[in-house]
């Protein structure tokens, strides 16, 4: 009898284990989003909740000062600020939306904005506050329209982080390239990478393969039409897209990219900071990180405008503040969101973090055009980023149809081709088929 105990325990544990593993997947599937739209009353009063994404403790002082000033201006408003860590932020948003417990004013990223907006959980701020549109840089306000929902805008644009180009000047020269002539098209970027691979002797690589980070941006910059004019199916199966895959495969084989970067890109800072990578990440925030963590490489870091290819401009990716559709205090919520995103408050925020205002008046502040002596990478990055933002346009953005799942499906096929497990043409064809299948699934009522 005693001998049989472990066996019985084993069977019971197996049953419990499988039950738990399956149960963990049981996500609530109830519908959401039929809330009644709040209407303005003209009275700015009441208690509102404001949720931000990981701003404590670094920016506690700044955010609290903005809140205090607002409460001083509108004494009948009480703002309850809650800050949520980055990990699980979106999951918490989904859970709150399902429970009908969204905050009144909430910081949204591009994908969370699309989900909540699409499900009818956000207030139409163009209706709440139409006159505000002109305050933001072109494209920023339009970014928060949704396909098929007319001129409605579902969030206030907040801060922006533009794309730039960063590279190691010394490695550039060692590869026989002129640091004063950075690449401007994807094709030229690949040519440079090929030359770097040929001259590096395996000591360093040109750039991170990371297809998920490069697509669909590279294709857009090469003039590949991602979607049909009606935007109801993907059309990227073109010679240009195939050419991109072939070049990537060739460069990967020649050692232009670290082998593991085909799958993971999380060690880019370490590689660039260690002088083993020529092109760094394309964000101004990165330049600041390198200055702190790898001062020697920072001194060799050169900044230029992003590769924009045939588009000639970058996209615009603004963080935003959404208003809960059925908020009890729409006046207070709208005024507060407008307050947080106004020129002076955004400029002040940008002085403390490596971000840019989506507010036109804010972006015109001399702080963003100062190039210093033209040698300090951080100052230069700020000026280059701000300059590019002035002409940023939505056609360079990842279209809403290119969801995370579509990106994953495309990347899986492309990875196989880069590894040489299938030819480039088949990869692009299969990627388009998979993407269209997902698009059709998503469109089902």
């Amino acid at each position: 009898m005693t001998r049989s105990n472990p066996i019985r325990t084993a069977v019971a544990a197996l049953a419990a284990g499988t039950l738990m593993s399956t149960a963990a997947c049981g996500l609530g599937g109830s519908g959401a989003g039929d809330a009644k739209e709040a209407e303005r009353t003209g009275k700015v009063a009441g208690g509102i909740t404001f949720r931000t994404l990981q701003l404590k403790p670094t920016f506690t002082g700044y955010v609290q000062a903005v809140i205090d000033a607002f409460e001083k201006k509108y004494p009948e408003v009480k703002v309850n600020w809650e800050d949520v860590p980055g990990d699980g932020y979106n999951e918490k948003l989904v859970a709150d939306a399902q429970a009908g417990a969204l905050p009144d004013v909430v910081n949204l990223s591009t994908d969370s904005f699309q989900l909540l907006g699409d499900r009818g959980l956000l207030a139409d701020v163009a209706k709440l506050d139409g006159d505000t549109a002109g305050q933001y840089v072109p494209g920023a306000w339009e970014q928060f329209k949704l396909p098929g929902k007319g001129d409605s805008v579902y969030a206030y644009p907040w801060y922006v982080t533009p794309e730039i180009l960063t590279y190691n000047r010394e490695l550039f020269e060692r590869s026989g390239l002129d640091p004063a002539v950075p690449p401007t098209s994807v094709e030229q970027f690949f040519d440079y990478a090929e030359q770097i691979a040929a001259r590096s002797g395996g000591q360093y690589s040109a750039f991170m393969a990371d297809p998920k980070g490069r697509l669909p941006g590279d294709w857009q910059k090469m003039g590949v039409p991602l979607l049909s004019p009606a935007k109801d199916r993907f059309t990227f199966d073109t010679d240009k897209a195939v050419e991109w895959v072939e070049r990537m495969k060739d460069l990967y084989a020649k050692g232009a990219m670290p082998k593991e970067s085909l799958l993971k890109s999380d060690d880019i800072n370490q590689l660039y900071g260690g002088g083993k990578l020529v092109f760094g990440p394309g964000s101004p925030g990165f330049v600041k990180d390198i200055k702190r963590n790898a001062p020697q490489v920072y001194a060799k870091t050169q900044v230029a405008g992003a590769v924009t290819g045939r588009l000639g401009h970058i996209g615009i990716y603004a963080q935003s503040l959404g208003i809960r559709k059925d908020t009890e205090h729409p006046d207070a919520a709208a005024e507060f969101a407008k307050w947080v995103t106004n020129g002076p408050n955004q400029v002040e925020f940008s002085r403390r973090a490596t971000i840019y205002p989506s507010n036109a008046q804010g972006l015109a502040d001399p702080f963003f055009s100062d190039r210093g002596d033209g040698k300090d990478a951080e100052t230069l990055a700020r000026a280059v980023g701000a300059d590019q933002l002035k002409s940023a346009a939505l056609d360079a953005n990842t279209p809403v149809q290119w969801t995370n799942q579509v990106g994953d499906a495309v990347v899986r096929e492309v990875q196989k081709a880069i590894k040489g497990e299938q030819d480039a043409r088949t990869a692009v064809k299969k990627a388009e088929e998979a993407a269209n299948r997902l698009l059709a699934d998503a469109a089902r009522p």
């Binding site: 499988t18 593993s21 996500l27 994953d408």
Partner: protein
């Protein structure tokens, strides 16, 4: 003093009262989500959108989905390789460190260390060991064993093998402790009697130790089967979120996460794949039961 002044009378509901908290937890956090998953698997629910009943569509889709078959194949392969290793190697290790000799405590602790290390740290260490410019490849190249780095992390099959190595390495110490407990219960007199009869250490291992710890081997087999079918972390940390190039190293839990989470997550389909994983586990559990039948009596 009367009897009434002691403990209050036991009423019919007293046992249920004691059971209630535990029962409520099980109902709420295990049973209900399970039932919910079964229901969802027959719908086309998505995140934040309640789905309609679609019958067996999700199951049909899974059977026609090449990704599902790749993931199922990988999960089963994982189980078939990892379970025998985790049943036999920790036993061998336990026999080695069972001896009461000075300093053996150090080895016992050393073998147990991977168990308490966090999965992320373990993943990072192995990544550093296995990457194309990592420790193993550098040694191989210095010794002129290979001309090109071995693609431990960038080839689907090699990635799966690497993840298996990590799982086995991490499980060795854990199951070794199980076996140490079982070995402690083997009467020394049996070994003595066998030794007097002329049995050597190998013979004693197979004729005394193995039969005596067999129930524990079955328990370890079951535990390791559960973890093998649920493997996710090792592949995710070593091979990134795509699950190897082209997703070729994805296991079933990996696939479930990929299709079910995120803002475009298909809850209904992910639930159906979860139920299929449950059925697969059930099949292996029934097989295990069949194997153990003889020992239960």
């Amino acid at each position: 003093m009367t009897a009434d002044s002691g403990l209050p009378h036991r009423t019919w509901w007293t046992p249920y009262l004691f059971l209630a908290p535990g029962l409520a937890m099980v109902l709420l956090f295990s049973l209900w989500p399970f039932v919910n998953t079964v229901i969802l698997s027959f719908t086309d629910a998505r995140i934040l959108r309640g789905g309609g009943f679609v019958g067996l569509d999700n199951y049909r889709r899974a059977f026609a989905d090449p990704d599902f078959w790749v993931a199922t194949g990988n999960s089963v392969l994982y189980l078939l390789v990892v379970v025998p290793c985790l049943v036999l190697l920790p036993l061998a290790l336990a026999v080695l460190v069972q001896a009461r000799i000075p300093g053996i405590g150090f080895f016992r602790s050393a073998f147990y260390t991977p168990v308490i290390a966090s999965a992320v740290v373990v993943g990072l260490i192995w990544q550093w060991v296995l990457r194309s410019d990592g420790l193993v490849n550098t040694v191989f190249r210095r010794l002129h064993l290979v001309s090109e780095p071995v693609p431990f992390l960038t080839d689907s099959t090699m990635l799966l093998v690497s993840a298996m190595i990590v799982t086995v390495w991490k499980g060795l110490g854990y199951y070794m402790v199980f076996y140490l407990a079982a070995l402690g219960n083997v009467p020394a007199s049996l070994h003595e009697a066998a030794a007097i009869d002329g049995a050597g250490p190998v013979r004693r291992f197979f004729s005394i130790t193995v039969p005596q710890v067999k129930p524990m081997m079955l328990l370890v087999g079951t535990f390791s089967a559960i973890s093998a079918l649920r493997v996710f972390t090792e592949i995710y940390i070593l091979g990134g979120e795509s699950g190897g190039p082209g997703g070729g190293a994805r296991t079933l839990p990996f696939l479930i996460r990929q299709v079910g989470l995120g803002f475009s997550g298909e809850t209904g389909y992910a639930s159906a794949v979860s139920i299929l994983l449950f059925l697969l586990t059930l099949v292996f559990s029934l097989l295990g039961r069949r194997l153990t039948k003889g020992d239960e009596t």
